[in-house]
């Protein structure tokens, strides 16, 4: 008996998952973000943190997935995907798919090839990649043509008219013969590597160039008397799994080759190592780089991500039958119901009255306090927000006021000083002091996902467990209240933080550093005057400070190198989000490291990006080794 799995935890991007399942769950909105020139002959590098959708994007262009899209073109729920692929010129209404997408992964052991001197190792790497390109191309071709058995590849003839002279790839007549050669070639290499009892017998191949690419872009395939698969796309995933030298060599050799077919290389940003901390990207006509994380972070990115996210979670929800609801988003209440937080509202009002007691004697605040008094008579969430806004503005005014005329502040002045940031800070203060839910609703769920699909699914999975529980308990309404959502999401965020040392190479140090940044941001955020409303969620290293880490020098020693490594890994794994900050009249440019939004939930911080504070490399080094704890008592006005 199979265990009922959580539909949000199943990973659908792996290539041997059912193609129908894959196309059903594939959200076509990612195709909108694909650059217009992504199908031109050049090397295109896609980078992101894990879980941003690189492998899913690549898999969508494999022959079996394209055939599944094409076969499902009449189905309403898949029509959008089909249409977007037609718009990209990848599919047509009339003919079956013509694009031959060849998908390879670098997780297949290139980094484990025995280390030996220069050319020998490089040659073996190229030879192995070449025979895999050939093998995967021929198998993909079989899938593209809808051939069932591998033996049917014998019906495909190979035409070498335009293929340059290649040393490592033999000239054979049929696809079956060449596929058999490639299989045996690879197995022989591995048999020798696996045996390793004595020195290699000298039979290990070595190629001087990446002949597989030269072969792929020029070979012609003939099937039943006609040319097939005229369009080609080579996709190489998991480039971060290569050794540094292998990766550099692959990108450089391919770029220099100026391929006539598009070559997509996908890697996690961790592959850049400490380079990730440097500003600027290397790009040119033949090498184009795309960061999937940053695709969603521009001006309209967030609303596009919400739409994309909704598409994904709703598709997943339809893929299960345990919880009988159609749309996942409908299960999440977006508003706070005042009746559910009655006690907290009463406490909040009383707290406000106690805290503004000291302003009663001042003429200056007469009108503000009178206005606030009206709200104290209406115990609802909106009124409490007004009270907290008033409180923040009172503290701000008090701290800035100089010894001058004690003019009465009017209600209009209060409204002028009010802003969405102050309101957001007020909501957060209400959450911190009274326990009024803050982390709920689908929009905030998307923000918490930090533009990452895997994180979105992990958080949705936690909420799904809540829905499952309601279903089991036969609750009338299968909707999660704000409190329920917040509890589930905070638990998920806590688990994410706990899991950091268990799942990252520098996890223990990373956790300490993140905890310290969280504590620092918390202290800055909850100063009574909310100076950086809605709050601080990141720290910035100025250009000068960053240079201490990125420019090789012995100044900081081992600790500095470790910090660079930890920061790079945190940025690569989406635990910290990097943003550049421009220079102004009063400060240098620099890089802001914002906390992952889920971690903001754990540390009780706001979800908006924006607030940050400058820190030094020395402080970060200290925090990395010794966790900073939040100073929750007697926070002072900043």
């Amino acid at each position: 008996m199979a265990y009922n799995s959580n539909p949000f935890l199943e990973r659908m991007s792996e290539r041997t998952t059912s193609d129908m399942e894959f196309v059903r769950l594939f959200s076509p909105k990612i195709l909108e973000k694909l650059a217009d020139d992504a199908f031109e002959g050049a090397v295109h590098v896609f980078r992101s943190a894990p879980g941003a959708g690189k492998t899913t994007l690549l898999r969508a262009f494999t022959p079996s997935a394209l055939r599944a899209f094409w076969n499902s073109r009449a189905r309403p729920e898949l029509a959008e995907s089909f249409q977007r692929l037609v718009n990209r010129g990848v599919l047509t209404e009339g003919n079956s798919p013509q694009l031959l997408g060849v998908f390879l992964s670098c997780a297949s052991g290139y980094a484990d090839l025995p280390s030996s001197e220069g050319l020998e190792q490089e040659g073996l790497f190229r030879a192995l990649l070449d025979c895999r390109i050939v093998l995967r191309t021929l198998r993909s071709l079989g899938a593209l043509l809808g051939l069932g058995a591998p033996d049917q590849l014998a019906a495909i003839k190979l035409n070498y008219a335009t293929v340059p002279s290649l040393q490592g790839i033999p000239v054979l007549d049929t696809a079956l013969e060449l596929a058999t050669w490639a299989e045996e070639h690879e197995r022989r290499v591995y048999a020798q590597l696996d045996a390793f009892l004595g020195p290699p017998s000298g039979g290990l191949p070595a190629h001087l160039h990446f002949e597989g690419v030269l072969w792929l872009q020029s070979i012609q395939f003939q099937y039943e008397g006609r040319a097939v698969a005229p369009q080609r796309l080579l996709m190489v995933d998991d480039m971060h799994k290569l050794r540094r030298k292998q990766r550099a060599m692959l990108i450089d050799d391919l770029t220099v080759m100026r391929p006539s077919i598009p070559i997509w290389l996908a890697e996690r940003t961790v592959a850049l190592g400490a380079e990730l901390l440097s500003q600027g990207a290397r790009e040119g006509r033949d090498l184009r780089e795309y960061n999937l994380d940053k695709m969603w972070s521009d001006a309209k990115g967030l609303s596009q991500f919400v739409s994309y996210a909704q598409n994904i979670v709703d598709r997943r929800m339809k893929n299960q039958n345990v919880v009988p609801v159609g749309s996942f988003t409908q299960c999440l209440r977006d508003e706070l119901v005042s009746s559910e937080v009655r006690a907290q509202l009463a406490e909040g009002i009383q707290r406000f009255r106690n805290e503004v007691e000291r302003y009663q004697s001042s003429q200056r605040y007469l009108q503000w306090l009178a206005r606030a008094e009206q709200y104290t008579n209406e115990p609802n969430v909106e009124s409490l927000v007004e009270l907290y806004v008033t409180r923040i503005l009172l503290v701000r005014d008090e701290s800035k006021r100089q010894m001058s005329l004690d003019l009465i502040l009017t209600e209009e002045e209060l409204e002028d000083r009010d802003s969405s940031q102050v309101r957001a800070a007020a909501e957060l203060f209400m959450h911190e002091e009274l326990g009024i839910p803050y982390y709920f609703g689908f929009d905030r769920l998307c923000v918490m996902a930090t533009n990452n699909v895997e994180e979105l699914l992990a958080l949705s999975a936690a909420l799904y467990v809540g829905l499952q529980a309601k279903q089991v308990l036969r609750k009338a309404e299968l909707i999660l209240s704000a409190q329920e959502q917040e509890k589930l999401l905070r638990d998920a965020a806590g688990r994410k933080r706990e899991f950091i040392p268990k799942s990252h190479t520098e996890g223990t140090r990373a956790q300490r550093l993140l905890d310290s940044i969280g504590a620092f941001c918390h202290d800055q955020t909850f100063a009574p005057n909310a100076p950086y409303a809605p709050g601080v969620t990141g720290v910035r290293l100025s250009r000068t400070e960053l240079a201490k880490l990125t420019i090789p020098s012995k100044l900081l020693g081992l600790a500095g190198q470790t910090l660079a490594r930890v920061l790079a890994e945190c940025a690569a794994e989406n635990l910290l989000v990097q943003r550049e900050s421009q220079a102004t009249g009063s400060r240098d440019s620099g890089t802001v490291f914002y906390l992952n939004r889920s971690l903001c939930v754990h540390y009780g911080l706001p979800l908006q990006m924006g607030g940050w504070r400058d820190v030094s490399v020395g402080e970060l080094m200290k925090w990395m080794e010794r966790r900073l704890t939040p100073n929750r008592k007697n926070l002072e006005v900043v």
């Binding site: 008996m1 199979a2 265990y3 799995s5 959580n6 935890l9 199943e10 990973r11 659908m12 991007s13 792996e14 290539r15 041997t16 998952t17 059912s18 894990p50 492998t55 390879l104 992964s105 997780a107 297949s108 052991g109 980094a111 484990d112 090839l113 025995p114 280390s115 025979c131 895999r132 093998l135 198998r139 490639a182 299989e183 045996e184 690879e186 197995r187 022989r188 591995y190 048999a191 590597l193 696996d194 045996a195 390793f196 009892l197 998991d238 799994k241 050794r243 540094r244 030298k245 961790v270 999975a461 899991f499 040392p501 268990k502 799942s503 990252h504 190479t505 520098e506 996890g507 223990t508």
Partner: protein, 392 residues
Amino acid sequence: MLWDYYVFRRGNAVHDLWDDLMKDRLVDLLYIAGRGFDVRAQTVMREFVTGQRGSGRKTASAKLLMLGFEGYELDDNIVKLTEENAVALEALFSPLGSAETITIAVPDGEDEASPSDALRQRVKAVLDEVDGKTDIILDVSSLPRATYLALLTNILYKLVPTKDVASDKPHPLYANGVNFHVLVAEDAHLDGQIRAEDPSNDLVMIPGFVTAWQAESLQDRPLVWFPVLGENRVNQLQKIIDSALIPMEAEVCPVVPHPSKDPRRADNLLVEYRGPLFDSRKTPTSNILYAHESHPFEAYRQLLGAMQRYENSMSIMGGCRLVMTPLGSKLITLGAGLACFEMRPSDWNARYGVTIPHAEPRRYFASVESLRKSTPEISLLLLTGQAYGEPV
């Protein structure tokens, strides 16, 4: 089944076996141990050396090979304990022979050797010392899991090049009379207290079991996964899953220790691994395999039988890949290693393959006091040699 009859001893019976096996003959000994922080290795070595120096035993030559490990994050007191342990091991062995430490060269331009490459180098260095020995002792107490599995399977591969049993030839496990002893000092309570964190992003591949995991030509074959579960290792299992090479359609057969001293141990493990194995994948509970907690040959039989059945069933589909992930206790892991060794195809063109990927943790937390206070029980597996028959 190669180890239809086997030799397995515990506690004092280990000494009785050594007395019978080693008396009145010249011993050319290779002793392999890890240069680590686990002081249980001293207990094991002390007991062996004391016995070997006793009457009736003659040592022609003896060499201690200590395998050094770099790149681990350890507290200062653990680092100090590692140094003390190494000195103590060398001192303990000195009456018998010399010691040598093996370290790994890092390729130019890289910060460190790839874990698989480093492991390959270590194994090769050990295999280069095997020729001419009458007795090879592998102490797994102080070695990381991937290392002792690699040594176990590759030393066996060298000693037992063919696995076919023929009535007119010595049993393959006779191995020209070379006795291969595997020693384990197990203290379950202490093992549960040693925490392993920060799993490496690079999976380690056991040499000799790489093809089935990495060969492109086998990627389309169905995969059967045997994760052998152990406490506090969910993160390592998650790394295997995150490598995206265990497809959703893979047949998953979790292996849990049962019978066990703690009758609830298997249940607790299934709860601990619920997320990655059951919530994320549709793993049928009927696939769960039960292997004896402290009897490696029982674990070997269970796992070997399951692997053979799957290989047989899937041969009509063109073959399969059998993947074992060793996260359990040492004795079960050894049993699983023996099963993988026996299943490993001898023909490179075979339609199936066996592979053992592992995510090695880079940070260990252990209490020095607990380590020093440990009183482990020694177990011995005699895998080849005179006990498996005289020449025909």
